[in-house]
C-alpha cells in the first residue's frame, strides 16, 4: 500500500478531487481516501462496539456502502461527516445484531485485557488496557443517543454542527447530550477510580 505524506510543495488532493478520480476508476485515490479516514472511522466504530473485529467489519461495510453509493452523496456535508454517519449506523446495527454491547462487552474487554497482559507488555500498557476497559464500561452506561453524540464529537473529532448534521438533530440537542454525557461519565469514572 502506498503511504501518502504531505511535504512542503506537495499539493494534497481534496476529498472532492479524490472522489472524482475514484469515479473514473482511479484505484490510488481510493487508497488515499482509505488512509485518510480509516483511523477515525475505526475509532468511532470501536467505541460503539468495543472490539476490534466488529469495528473493522463496520469500517469495511461503511467504506463499501459509501463508495458504491456516491451518486447519493449530495455534497451538502463533507465526505467525513457522511462516512461517519454510515459508520455509526453500521456499528450500532452490528451491535444490535450481535448483541454485543449489553452481553458481550465485559467478556470481550476482559479477553482483550488478558491478551494484553499475556503479551507481557510494559505496565503502562496494562494500565492503558485497564483504563480502556473502564472507559468502555462508562460509555456503556450512557443511553444510545448520548453515546453516539459523545463518540462522534470526541473520537470522530466532529464539531457540534457536524454532529448535528450526522444525527439530524439541532445543535441545542447536541449541546445537551454532550453536557449530560460528560456529567454522567464523570460521575461514573470518579466513583470507579476511587476504588
Amino acid at each position: 500500500m502506498t503511504i501518502v505524506t504531505s511535504s512542503p510543495g506537495l499539493v494534497v488532493p481534496t476529498d472532492e478531487q479524490l472522489l472524482g478520480r475514484h469515479a473514473t476508476g482511479d484505484r490510488a485515490s481510493l487508497e488515499v481516501l482509505f488512509l485518510r479516514y480509516r483511523s477515525v472511522a475505526y475509532r468511532v466504530a470501536y467505541r460503539l462496539l468495543g472490539n476490534e473485529a466488529d469495528a473493522l467489519d463496520a469500517v469495511q461495510e461503511s467504506f463499501i456502502k459509501v463508495l458504491s453509493n456516491l451518486d447519493h452523496f449530495q455534497r451538502r456535508s463533507s465526505f467525513k461527516t457522511w462516512l461517519l454517519r454510515i459508520v455509526s449506523n453500521a456499528a450500532l446495527d452490528i451491535g444490535r445484531t450481535r448483541g454485543r454491547r449489553e452481553i458481550v462487552t465485559q467478556q470481550a474487554i476482559y479477553q482483550e485485557a488478558q491478551h494484553e497482559r499475556s503479551c507481557s507488555e510494559p505496565s503502562a500498557e496494562v494500565e492503558r488496557a485497564d483504563l480502556r476497559r473502564l472507559l468502555d464500561e462508562a460509555l456503556a452506561t450512557l443511553p444510545e443517543p448520548q453515546r453516539k453524540t459523545f463518540v462522534l464529537h470526541v473520537d470522530g473529532e466532529l464539531s457540534y454542527r457536524e454532529v448535528a448534521e450526522v444525527l439530524g438533530i439541532s445543535i441545542g440537542t447536541v449541546m445537551s447530550r454532550l453536557y449530560y454525557a460528560r456529567q454522567k461519565l464523570r460521575g461514573y469514572l470518579a466513583q470507579r477510580m476511587k476504588l
Partner: protein
Amino acid sequence: MTDPLRPPTPRPELLAAYIDGELDPATAARVEAWLLTDPHACELLDEQYLLSRSHREFWRAVSPPEPSTARWNHLFNQIDKRLQQPPASPAQPLPCRHTPPPTPARRWSFTTSVSLAIALALLVIVTTWRQQRPERDLLPLQSPLAIPVVETFAVLSESEIEINSVHAQDGSALVVGDSVLRQPLVLANIHDFALDSMQCDEDGLLPNVPMSNGSMRPMILAPMDSVRD
C-alpha cells in the same frame, strides 16, 4: 429578586459549548457578558473548562488499540475487491409457462367454487365453536357505551426516556408519574373472558374492569363490534 439589568444565567450546557469554542459569535458574546457580571461565573467556567479538557485528554490517551498494518491491508483489499465486483443486476422474472387467460366461464366457475369452500369451512368452524362453548349467563350490555375519542399517547418506561431540560412553558404539558399499567400487561382475546359490567374511571377515559380479587384494572378496548356476541 433578580436584577433586570443583569443578563440571564446561561444554561450549563451553553457554558460547556462556550468552552469547547462551539458557540456562534452572538451567543458567545451573551455568555461573555454574563461572565463579566456574575461573581460566581469564573468558578463555573473553571469547572466546565477542567471537565471538558480532562475528558478530551483522558479519552484520547486511551484511544482504541490500532489494528496491525497487515489487518489494515487485508481490510483495504477486501473493500477494493468488493467495489470491483459488478453491481448485482435486478432480479429477472423467472420464465414461466405461457397459459392462456381464463375464459369468463372458467373464471366464474373457479370463483364460485372457492367462495363455496370458504363458506362451508366457516359454517363448520362456527358450529363446532358454539357446541364446545360453555354456557354462561352473560348480561347484555344495557346501552352502547360512548367511548370518547382519545389521542394516541406513548407509554414509555423509565429506561426509554431521557429528559435533559424542559422549557418552563412546557412544564404543564409534561405528564410525569407512575405508569397506569403498574402490573404486568396481560393480553386477552375476546374468548378469554365474559364482560359482565364496566364503568369509566374518574377521567371518563379508560374503562376500569372489576377483577376477581376486588381490585379495579384499566382495560384497553378493542372496537365494540368485535366484543359483542
